[in-house]
Structure formats: structure tokens, C-alpha cells
């Protein structure tokens, strides 16, 4: 094979296995210039292969954003953030305490109002009953 024919094959040959009995391989064994070219392509491909071990670092919160973007992922992310953050936990507990307090005050107010209404109703009924009895007597 001529050098130019072999060189046209080198990018593909360098990415695969050599065939010892192949004509191009036989040419490489006897042509230093083409063997150098082959070694260069191998070097490029081996260098590319080594990039697989090199990691580009994303933003630290990327996994949480990915999870938040999944169906039903948002609530879980909020919960895990709260669990991991002291300030958020204190704020959430305060909010919960305030909500419980508001409910308790509301219940007390409702019971008092209900009792006062009951007493007023009984008083009105007693007054009306007395008036009705007086009219009947007359």
C-alpha cells in the first residue's frame, strides 16, 4: 500500500484494533513516517479517553434543583432544606407555635361567646315568659 492510502485509514485504525495480518499494518511496520502518524492519532484518542476521568463541577445546589423539577419533588426539597437549616427549623417551629396559639385563643373566644349568647338567650326567654304570664293574668 502507498503512504497516502494508509494515512487515509489512520484515524479509524487508531480508534480500533490493529490486524497483524492486514496490509496497512504491514505498511506501518516498515514505514517510520506513517508509524509516527499512527502514534499521533493514538495519542489523540488516548488523551480523549483520559478526559472521562476529569469532572467539571456544577453548582452545589444542582441536585436539589433537579429533584425540585421532578414531579412531586418540590415538597421533599423544602422539607429537607428545613431539616438541614437551623434558622429555617426555628422559623417553622415558631410559625407552628403561633398557629397553635391562634387556634387556642380562637377556641376560648368561641366558648366565651357561646356561653354569653346562651345566657342572653335564657334571659330573653325568661323576660318574654314573665310578660306573657302577666298578659294572660290580665
Amino acid at each position: 500500500m502507498r503512504c497516502e492510502d494508509v494515512r487515509a485509514l489512520l484515524p479509524e485504525m487508531a480508534g480500533g484494533r490493529l490486524h497483524p495480518a492486514g496490509r496497512a499494518e504491514a505498511h506501518l511496520a516498515g514505514c517510520a513516517a506513517c508509524a509516527l502518524e499512527y502514534a499521533r492519532f493514538r495519542s489523540v484518542i488516548e488523551g480523549l479517553g483520559s478526559l472521562a476521568d476529569h469532572i467539571e463541577e456544577p453548582s452545589a445546589d444542582l441536585p436539589e434543583r433537579i429533584i425540585a423539577g421532578l414531579p412531586s419533588g418540590r415538597l421533599r426539597v423544602v422539607a429537607s432544606r428545613v431539616a438541614a437549616n437551623d434558622q429555617a427549623r426555628v422559623a417553622l417551629l415558631s410559625l407552628g407555635g403561633a398557629a397553635i396559639g391562634a387556634v387556642a385563643v380562637g377556641l376560648l373566644w368561641w366558648r366565651r361567646t357561646r356561653r354569653a349568647l346562651g345566657e342572653a338567650t335564657a334571659s330573653v326567654q325568661a323576660t318574654v315568659g314573665t310578660a306573657v304570664r302577666s298578659e294572660t293574668a290580665v
Binding site: 484515524p11 509516527l36 484518542i45 480523549l48 467539571e56 453548582s59 433537579i66
Partner: protein, 182 residues
């Protein structure tokens, strides 16, 4: 690598298991996305989109391929969609691949070793279509058929692109004139 048990639970629809999968694999998925789109924010958007697609498709994942390879294909598909939408991908079938690359380290003609920084700079001289093919094949080990399926091209077209991309990288990394072209 994703734990087999975690993956099995994720495939059965356990959202917490899928979150574990995300935490175990997102850096590799992001790295591939970044290599394809060349912008950090865009790569994070592509990674998010890829995991959403993976979540929806996970039940259909068959373990005849490695999970990472399956995920890389989804990241690639999401990146191609992104690049096409942005008009940055070009036409895969086009003959023109841009001007020849400038040598990034011509002094290497006597030294066969290729250092990572020079290689990354050389990759940046390639068009997105050529860069994507050579990265997916020579860095991530996808087959030309798999790359073609994700990029919307025939296996033959991918092989042609791969040949050109390797040639251009060789020209960028080694002094073309030093030994003379035959």
C-alpha cells in the same frame, strides 16, 4: 456507579431512590452536558431536562446497557435539542465543518504525549457537530449507531464526522508541516 438495588427501587417508582440516583450521577451528567454545550448555565439547564426525561423513561430502561450509558444518551439528546433550538448546532449533513483549526501546541511534533489542557483547547476549535461526535465516541465510548440515534443522523454520517474530527484534532495538536503531508 449507581447501586443496583437503588436503581431497581427507582425503576419501581420510588422517588427517594431516584433522588439517590441523581446525587450519585449528576456530576458526570453535567460534565457531559458542559462538554457538549460549552456554557455552565446552559449545561445545568440541559442536565435538569435530561433527568426529567430519565425520570419519565426509567420504567422502560432495560439493563442490557449500563445505566450510565443510557443516561449519557439522554443527556446527549437533551443537549442536541438545546443546541438546535439555539441555532448553535448547524446541519449534521453539511459538508462544511468550518475553517481548519489553528495549531494549539505545534511544538509537540517531537513529543507524542497530549496534555489535557491542549486537548480541551483543540476540542474547542471544532464545530459543535464534530466535537459532539468525537466526545461521545472517544471520551464516553458510545457506538456510532448510538450517537447517530441521539443526533438524528445515520451511522455512516457519524463515522465520516468522527474521521474528520480526529484528523482535525491531530492537526491542531501536532505540527502538520513538521514531517510533511504525504
Amino acid at each position: 456507579m449507581v447501586n443496583h438495588d437503588v436503581l431497581a427501587r427507582a425503576r419501581r417508582g420510588d422517588p427517594r431512590a431516584f433522588e439517590e440516583v441523581v446525587r450519585a450521577t449528576h456530576r458526570h451528567a453535567y460534565t457531559l452536558a458542559f462538554r457538549l454545550v460549552r456554557d455552565r448555565q446552559d449545561a445545568e439547564d440541559v442536565t435538569q431536562e435530561a433527568y426529567l426525561r430519565a425520570f419519565r423513561a426509567l420504567r422502560g430502561f432495560r439493563e442490557d446497557a449500563a445505566f450510565e450509558t443510557w443516561l449519557y444518551r439522554i443527556v446527549t439528546n437533551a443537549a442536541m435539542t438545546f443546541l438546535r433550538r439555539r441555532g448553535r448546532f448547524g446541519d449534521l449533513a453539511a459538508e462544511h465543518d468550518g475553517p481548519p483549526p489553528e495549531p494549539v501546541s505545534p511544538e509537540r511534533s517531537e513529543d507524542q504525549a497530549v496534555d489535557r489542557d491542549s486537548l480541551v483547547r483543540a476540542l474547542e476549535t471544532l464545530s459543535p457537530a464534530l466535537r459532539s461526535v468525537v466526545i461521545l465516541k472517544d471520551v464516553y465510548g458510545l457506538s456510532c449507531q448510538e450517537i447517530g440515534e441521539e443526533m438524528g443522523a445515520t451511522e455512516g454520517a457519524i463515522k465520516v464526522r468522527l474521521h474528520r474530527a480526529r484528523k482535525r484534532l491531530r492537526d491542531a495538536l501536532f505540527d502538520v508541516e513538521a514531517d510533511g503531508e504525504v
